[in-house]
């Protein structure tokens, strides 16, 4: 808790600012790749979709995208909480929840990608 409390804009603002921008830079090309891939995928049946995900390049890029998106969104949601929640304890709890939630979304998504890539049924 004390670590989270100190990590607001007053404590670790500069690294947060850099991480937000760095993750944005990383995401830009990968997001374009994903949108283009999804737009041009032939059909949406299960076999086509899983075959596409299972290709090593796609699986790796998809896992990386999910990881960086979840990181970027945790940083963004943290700023929103810091701006609008003025009760320090509530803000700290909110940021903790955001981090836990983002982490969960990342773990579950990457787990799903790995399962498809390894062809386990």
């Amino acid at each position: 808790m004390s670590r989270i409390r100190s990590s607001g804009t007053a404590g670790r603002g500069a690294p947060h600012w850099w991480m937000q921008r760095l993750s944005a830079l990383v995401l830009a090309p990968v997001v374009l790749w994903l949108v283009l891939s999804l737009a041009t995928i032939a059909t949406l049946d299960h076999a086509t979709v899983t075959t596409w995900i299972a290709s090593p390049t796609n699986a790796m890029l998809l896992a990386a995208l999910v990881l960086v998106v979840c990181f970027h969104m945790a940083l963004g949601l943290q700023v929103i909480i810091e701006d609008y929640v003025h009760v320090p304890r509530a803000a700290a709890m909110g940021i903790l929840a955001v981090r836990a939630g983002s982490g969960l979304v990342a773990v579950v998504s990457i787990g799903a990608v790995l399962k498809i890539a390894m062809g386990a049924d």
Partner: protein, 129 residues
């Protein structure tokens, strides 16, 4: 009895037409939150795909339904808006685009570019499917 004041009135949010820069500023935040929901949808779709054809069928049914297509279309635009506006933020961080006319022009460019990218994406999607 009251004499009309010559003093400027403070801009009141309900009657004040927000400049494009202010609209984009708050929209960046809203679109970010909307994209969080989009990420949750992506996570759900990935899990369903991993669980097998039966689970995936639910995702597919939603995606090809009319509400699903509308949702995906809006989500594409929100994504490209956040993307283009994010690029604008990165340019600002590098020190570009701070003059008043540039700020306004870049603002409209963000909207134009995000609409264009959305249309291109859906034309591609329509051609592929």
């Amino acid at each position: 009895m009251s004499t009309p004041s010559k003093r400027p009135l403070s801009p009141h949010l309900q009657i004040y037409r927000l400049p494009i820069t202010a609209v984009l500023s708050i929209s960046h935040r809203f679109s970010g939150v909307a994209l969080v929901v989009g990420m949750m949808f992506l996570a759900w779709a990935l899990v369903a795909a991993a669980m097998g054809p039966t689970s995936w069928a639910t995702v597919r049914a939603l995606v090809v339904s009319w509400p699903g297509v509308v949702l995906l279309f809006v989500w594409t635009w929100v994504l490209f808006f956040h993307f283009c506006n994010g690029v604008r933020h990165l340019l600002w961080d590098l020190g570009y685009g701070f003059s008043l006319e540039n700020a306004g022009n870049y603002g409209w460019s963000v909207i134009a570019a995000s609409v264009a990218l959305t249309v291109v994406t859906w034309v591609l999607a329509a051609g592929g499917a």
